[in-house]
Symmetry: C2
């Protein structure tokens, strides 16, 4: 099969790889009608995260089950399924508490590589959720988004306790931040402020439910949020970047007693203890336990209540994956869909 492989920072290729096979009786093999590039794929692409290349790339997926191991009982060949970017048993104590991304048997799908024609999904029973039927083609980008960016934005909004009567601020206008806006809207937030200085992303934010756009960032952005909230700060802040500046912007934009949901993979971040102490905020985040939300998200997509696939603003054949990475790296695209 054809698959994306990263050899070194900036060096992404599409090559012939062996078709995946059932290795454990709990595995499933799925065929991917679409796959995509994640903002977090840019960390190794930019050399911020070290990888010993060549490594397979991709961790988002939705597709058709082709084969299952002997112990798999919850999905069967021919079904369309969506899974999280962490495979999980969904039965351990951590999973049952809703933290499937930290399952005691978690397998990062990045180690499998889903920017490919097919993928092996470990722990299929705990990981995959079948859709009500075979989706129409136009729903596939939405379902693919549920695998990570939507599920991650959703988790951030839940962690930030977005809800009725709340003012929610969103730091980061990438796909996850934008889908954090969508999630906050679905969760009933009263006011949703998106930090963004890019016209196309602002438009998508408003389409997803943002009531206000703030173009200032850092402490100027914080001052703006304070001004909009009677000097108090937002009740809920979603952090979807993962830098020192974005984390501090999130902490300072939150009122005392408020909640921050952070999902940007924090690189080179050190949170100052004393400032955090006096901020008196709630801080929660990490790799999103997407599996917790998948049944609800699939239903909302199936009913066409939400269209998270709108974040894909560039579609390319899988063979042009390198151009997809470049477009995201240069911020020419919010998120790139690849067609195997």
């Amino acid at each position: 099969m054809r698959a994306v492989v990263m050899y070194a920072p900036g060096d992404v290729r599409v090559e012939q790889r062996e078709d995946p096979e059932i290795l454990a009786p709990t595995d499933a093999i799925i065929r991917l009608p679409a796959t995509c590039v994640c903002g977090s794929d840019l960390w190794p692409y930019r050399g911020v995260e070290k990888r010993d290349g060549p490594v397979p790339m991709g961790h988002e997926y939705a597709g058709v089950v082709e084969e299952i191991g002997d112990e798999v009982t919850s999905v069967e060949p021919g079904q369309f399924v969506v899974g999280s970017f962490f495979a999980s048993d969904n039965t351990c104590e951590i999973c049952r508490a809703g933290y499937q991304s930290r399952c005691v048997n978690a397998v990062p799908m990045a180690s499998v590589g889903t920017q490919a024609q097919r993928a092996r999904v470990p722990l299929a029973d705990g990981t995959l959720v079948a859709t009500p039927g075979m989706p129409r083609a136009d729903l596939i980008p939405d379902l693919l988004a549920a695998s990570d960016v939507l599920g991650t934005g959703w988790f951030a909004a839940v962690a930030a306790e977005a809800g009725p009567g709340k003012t929610v601020a969103v730091v980061g206008d990438g796909a996850v931040g934008l889908l954090g806006v969508l999630a906050a809207k679905q969760l009933g937030a009263e006011r949703i402020v998106a930090f963004s200085r890019h016209a196309d992303r602002q438009r998508l934010a408003v389409e997803f439910g943002a009531t206000d756009i703030v173009t200032e960032r850092g402490d100027e952005g914080v001052a703006k949020i304070k001004e909009m909230t009677g000097g108090l700060g937002a009740h809920s802040v979603i952090e979807a970047v993962g830098t020192q500046e974005s984390m501090m912007q999130a902490v300072r934009s939150t009122r005392p007693g408020g909640h921050i949901g952070y999902v940007g993979v924090a690189h080179g971040v050190a949170l100052p203890g004393l400032e955090l102490f006096y901020a008196a905020v709630h801080l929660h985040g990490g790799p999103a336990p997407v599996r917790r939300f998948l049944p609800d998200l699939i239903r909302l997509i199936w009913d066409r209540t939400i269209r998270p696939g709108r974040v894909f603003d560039l579609e390319l054949p899988l063979e042009q994956a390198a151009e997809g990475y470049r477009a995201m790296d240069e911020r020419r695209a919010v998120k790139v869909l690849l067609r195997p």
Copy 2:
């Protein structure tokens, strides 16, 4: 009146100071039958926090109202009252959300100084809570503890979501940590693990409800907690120290999805973003909004359900305040009660 004043690190004196007077119509003057030294008073005593001496000391208080300003309506002279170490209006949006220590009009009682015979309490209506009657003398240490150490330990346990079915670990065996044990017990925690290597503090921890004592600290303490919890970590962790080591011990002792309530004033602490991200814990803390809990705490004390005053293991006349500071600094005493 006689009052404690700190001139420089290690230099604590008892001097004659002007009796407090009503400065604003929302003030009250209270007479203090007892006062005390806080673990946080040791930060300036040790020179870790800079103060331009001489400064009045003390922020914990319980006593009898002697005089009230014209606008005070909720307490009257002759009543016994308890207040928090932050005066608050208890009417602003932040107070109504339960974060009175971050009230938009908050006044730190440390700026008043309550290690004295009398004290002026700003925002009396929002700050003071009257007891059901004049307490018997033996209840006064308990009520005084409610003003900070009990209220702070309680907040930490609430922030850590201690409750039925939960394993709670407590980092720090000072008065706040010990009262965090008491709070976790009252909140119904199933198992309470106290980190302590001091026999007297271990005894008090057990008296307050600890089910297990761990003498290891740092990563060895973490390994012990993991061993006790099937490798997962505690559901709830109370951090009551405020150092880099204690914060990391708390983060690493908590299972994914678990909750940390941190109330140690974090000095020189920098939380590593990436480790925190993958820990996937909830982090909440700050200056405890003691006012939120005071009515409940006073009732529990009045009914003699809890005896938080047990943390006072050294009682001295106010004139010997310097010895009180020394005893706590040298860890000869858990907490020192001063009799004006």
